[in-house]
Amino acid sequence: MRTQLFTSMLALAVAVAPGYAQTANAKAPAKAATGAFKAPRTPDGVPDLQGVYSNSSAVPLERPANLGAKEFYTDAEMKANADAAAARAAAAPAFPQANVVGTVADIHYDTSQFGLTRYITDAMVNKRTSIVVGETGKVPTMIPEATKRQADARALVAGHQFDGPENRGIAERCIYWGNEGPPMLPVGYNATLQIVQGPGYVGIVQEMIHDTRIIPTDGRPHASGNIRQFFGESVGHWEGDTLVVDTTNFNDQPAVGRGASRNLHVVERFTRSGPETVLYQFTVSDPSTWEKSWSGEYPIGKIDGAVYEYACQEANYGMANILSGARADEKKAAAAK
């Protein structure tokens, strides 16, 4: 049953102690079924990954420091975490300051006015302590050249963050949201994606910002190195029941960020792990940024419903307001002199 796979995200709002990122209302965790489930086939005879999924997650990308090398919670710890989260949620209102005029809660995302709870997507039950796998559960530190590259980029706009749209954040500009990757990572809201398969292609739509990744599985090579894209360029093939996707041809602002450069290389694996779940795994390498590659995995689960249209650019009043606000502040400061 789908309800056994999902838990509410409610406790994310009130989780304080790292490590207690588990959520209220957890039912019996889904049994890991990697490799054990035989996926049905599409009419073209390849594994069927199609559906609308939530890729919301209560598990953070990187492991909280206090957990050290601990890669999984035990069942008892999962229950204890869930109980603690439920207790916190019961004690605190869903959205503490929604009625306090001028606060972030009041101005932005007061979902209670629509009869919604703070978090409206559910997350798969997942006993991992981090999405990043391995002993540290952390993204490796950047090599010195990459640290300098990032510092230089920050220095370039320091003190000029409101000069023009190019100096604003890339999500603010409605170009992409960093979680879109690849690798595709969980995000707090609009964490929805849809997979459609046609002969020789897999299409993946991510809701925010309605971006489609098209993955050919006909064995073609990557595009010319002259073609550089925010999401890179992906080619895929099937290994048994697993779709393996190889992505290169990034430009110098790939969505995964974290210092990544145009030399980024991402390999993802999609395996149907149950009637309503897909195990999503990825490995990230970039010799211009990290000395070694890093990998992660988390399950995604089917939801009832559709991907909605996130028309970001078409309604980006925020950008105009931010820039005109900065100009107004400058005028005010100049007049005060």
Partner: protein, 298 residues
Amino acid sequence: MRNWFTGSVVVASAMAALLAAVFMPTETQAQQTKAPAFKAPRTKDGKPNFNGLWMSNGLPNWDLEPHGPGPSVDPKLGSIYAVPPSVGFVVGGTIPYKPAALEQKKKNFAARAKEDPEAKCYMGGIPRANYMPYPFQIIQGAKDIMISYEYAGAVRILNTGTPLKAPADSWMGTSNAHWEGETLVVDVTALGDQSWLDRSGNHHSDQLHVVERWTMRSPDVLMYEARIEDPETYTQPWTIRVPLYRQAEENARLLEFKCVVFAEELLYGHLRKPAGAPAVVAAPPANNGKQGKGKGKQ
């Protein structure tokens, strides 16, 4: 006056009518003797196979109505971005605007350099996204058909199962589809009112209802027909027919056209820090491998 002239005309008319009946097909006869519709190759689940990369010849996106050539909106660009002529794509010739809507169209045309949603990197909407000069890809699943558009990364899912009710208006609408023989019929609703139909200011209200008919005419030509209904804007429904051509270059694939970076100057240029004050602008990412790494000061 002698009768022979009139008589001759009468006889001539009678002869002409007789000849016409015998030798010139009536419209019904023409339909009956037309070549049978092309039978498209099938997908493994037995449906006409529309998978692939398609694109119009770009002309409808300039102006759906028949028109001669015209200047670019910016004379400094010379002949580049001048408007090419076209016999038009509207069945019956012109769009049947109501008078007030026609006035709005003219206002749109005059302001098109700033007001055309395409200039702002807004999604094309329906029907326009289907005939912009950027390819799109059809990925045909057994139940859902994905259409991914290169321009601004727009996307739509055609639902061929139980029709779904639109949750809200959107730029790309809500599409419910079914097959009628060789034709995919798509009912598109909840389109909002902000998209245009082309670069000439042809527009619609939120009453817009589009019924599309997609039919392969030959292995590499997909005919796109759209019946456009909007009682607030037009005096009657009208139809466009646009041929879509399979993209056949070697290595053809859908690429990224994230045009926000090209539209920011138009949208926000007037809100930049004024000249004279030191300003620094981060360079755009190099999307062309030949351009090397982006760095930059202004």
